[in-house]
């Protein structure tokens, strides 16, 4: 099969078009994965627990999505207001708890002399 007839099959075309349309995002994700692994691999075992709770707090950036939702839901849509409100609460809890507890742990690691 030559290249053009390969492209003509529907699934291939859909997949190729999807990749083509999102090529920037795909590059972005790839770089993030490798940079993330590279940076995190350098963290010594001593700090793995704070690393994990700190990373946990960073995943609370999902709160951004929850805020966008809360500003968009109509005021009389009680179901979505409730769900969104809980989402904001959980996201904030994740961020605040995560960073505070990481800070508390790291304070113990600072030199005492």
């Amino acid at each position: 099969m030559d290249a053009s007839s390969f492209y003509q099959t529907t699934t291939t075309r859909l997949a190729m078009d999807f990749i083509n349309q999102n090529i920037q995002e795909i590059y972005f994700v790839l770089f993030c994965v490798f940079i993330g692994i590279e940076v995190i691999a350098n963290v010594p075992a001593i700090l793995h627990t704070p690393l994990m709770s700190g990373a946990n707090a960073i995943s609370g950036v999902i709160l951004v999505g929850a805020i966008i939702v809360m500003l968009r839901v109509p005021a009389d849509d009680y179901l979505n207001l409730t769900l969104g409100g809980i989402a904001v609460f959980l996201g904030t809890l994740n961020i605040s708890g995560g960073f505070f507890v990481t800070g508390r742990m790291l304070k113990m690691f600072s030199s005492k002399k």
Binding site: L47, V64, G65, A66, I67, L71, V88, S96, T102
Partner: protein
């Protein structure tokens, strides 16, 4: 205005990465945490500024600010109150909140989505975020309950089997749905998927043994990160995508590290299976030498360099503070004390280091396994506290042993090894420890905490 917001998100992303980068040394880690936290505040404030319009109803704003205020306060309270031994539970709990947030976002978006105009890619991303979030939510809650000792392992075939069926369904159903075979609305379909994923989260963690918890916590942490990244795609928000992926990468990396340190494959941990020892292992009679408290105190005080190998048992006995006291006493006598810490000591990655740091141990005395092994011959006495399999030489020289291949702390290379043990019971892997029969190894029978206290008392007298 738009440009300012984009630049702000860029700064937030850089701060996340910088924060993680600063974690590579104990000295800078605190700054790193602060940088990441500031980036987070920036991202949240910017989102608010960008999305707020005059038409946003007061009800929404009130609910949102209340939720933020309560969330911040509770987070602060929980983190102030937690005991360091309870850290794995708290991290699991916070992980559950992140997953829960991702799941709810998926539901709200589905409720509001106009199915006729939205594109397929967005729907798939929503489903992915919802499913991963729901798994992280219930999985982390079960992990937290297990760590707290409230839920026991359920390793029955039916649990494992149902979990696999659910996993298959969660892949299959969306495919069928998008081919139009399942005739229900998108919203209803999302609720079904959320329910399935939540049940799966429970069943997935239930069979996993308590000692494998470090692996599971890391994995769940990674899943939450991935859920965040999916949500980031839905909103086209690069800070969310990057943050999520960094967390996902960190989680996966720690998961694999823990698996390697425990000599178990990730698949086996997830399936809840254990390596059985091969039949026909001949358990040799061991010639065990006992040592008394005062003899231990003597050899510790006459040593030049002492290493302490703490294990899970030390954390269980809550003996880390007495350990710190012992170190201070020895240092007064100019005996150098190091801790050599195996990666799986404690209940989550790096947990033992936190426990010892809380007991006022300087981080420069906390040695990683490789560093400790390199300098092992310099130690006059190695005190093994509540560790067993991680010091078993069979891992290096007995291919028939179930622990074979596991990286160990080579305490047998030191001049003298003293193991504090309650009885001759076997360790987690259920194998005889060849170390105990060696010439340079003595055993001090007794509870770790009580024995340590007595050694400390003796040292004060000498």
């Amino acid at each position: 205005m738009y440009a300012i917001i984009e630049v702000g998100y860029l700064l937030a992303t850089i701060s996340f990465l910088g924060g993680l980068k600063f974690m590579s040394s104990p000295k800078n880690a605190k700054t790193g945490n602060l940088i990441a936290a500031m980036g987070m505040v920036l991202a949240v404030v910017l989102t608010f500024v960008a999305a707020i319009t005059a038409t946003v109803p007061y009800t929404n704003l009130t609910i949102m600010f209340l939720a933020i205020a309560i969330g911040t306060l509770i987070g602060k309270r929980l983190s102030d109150k937690v005991e360091m031994t309870g850290m794995p539970q708290l991290v699991s709990l916070f992980n559950a909140t992140g997953g829960g947030c991702a799941m709810l976002l998926g539901l709200v978006e589905a409720n509001q989505m106009d199915i006729t105009t939205s594109i397929l890619g967005n729907q798939i991303l929503l489903i992915a975020g919802l499913v991963t979030g729901a798994i992280a939510l219930t999985g982390s809650i079960i992990a937290e309950r297990k760590l707290a000792g409230k839920v026991k392992d359920r390793r029955s075939k039916s649990v494992i089997f149902s979990a696999r069926i659910l996993l298959g369904l969660m892949v299959l159903l969306p495919v069928l749905y998008f081919f139009g075979i399942i005739p229900i609305g998108f919203t209803a379909f999302m609720y079904v998927l959320a329910t399935l994923a939540m049940v799966y989260g429970v069943l997935f963690v239930l069979p996993i043994g308590g000692a494998d918890m470090p692996v599971v916590i890391s994995l769940l942490n990674s899943i939450t990160g991935i859920a965040t990244a999916f949500a980031g795609f839905v909103y086209g928000n690069k800070a969310m995508i990057a943050g999520g992926i960094f967390v996902g990468a960190a989680g996966i990396l720690l998961t694999l590290l823990m698996c390697k340190a425990m000599n178990r494959s990730l698949l086996k941990v997830l399936a809840g299976t254990f390596k059985k020892s091969k039949n026909g292992i001949v358990e040799e009679e061991q010639d065990i030498k006992e040592i008394s408290i005062s003899e231990t105190a003597m050899s510790l005080s006459f040593a030049q360099k002492v290493a302490i190998v703490p294990g899970y048992g030390l954390a269980v006995a809550q003996a880390q503070h007495i350990c710190g006291q012992l170190q201070q006493l020895l240092e007064k006598r100019h005996v150098g004390v190091d801790y050599i810490i195996h990666p799986v000591a404690g209940r989550m990655p790096g947990h033992m280091n936190v426990l010892l740091a809380e007991a006022n141990v300087e981080y420069s005395h906390l040695k990683e396994m490789d560093e400790g092994n390199e300098n092992m011959e310099q130690y006059d006495v190695v005190l093994v506290l509540g560790a067993n399999d991680v010091v078993n030489p069979a891992a290096e020289n007995n291919p028939d042993s179930p622990v074979y291949g596991m990286p160990i702390i080579r305490v047998y290379e030191s001049k003298q090894v003293i193991v504090i043990k309650r009885s001759m019971n076997k360790g987690y892997a259920g194998v005889q420890n060849d170390l105990f029969g060696l010439d340079n190894c003595c055993i001090l029978f007794g509870d770790a905490k009580v024995s340590l206290q007595e050694i400390v008392n003796q040292l004060k007298l000498i």
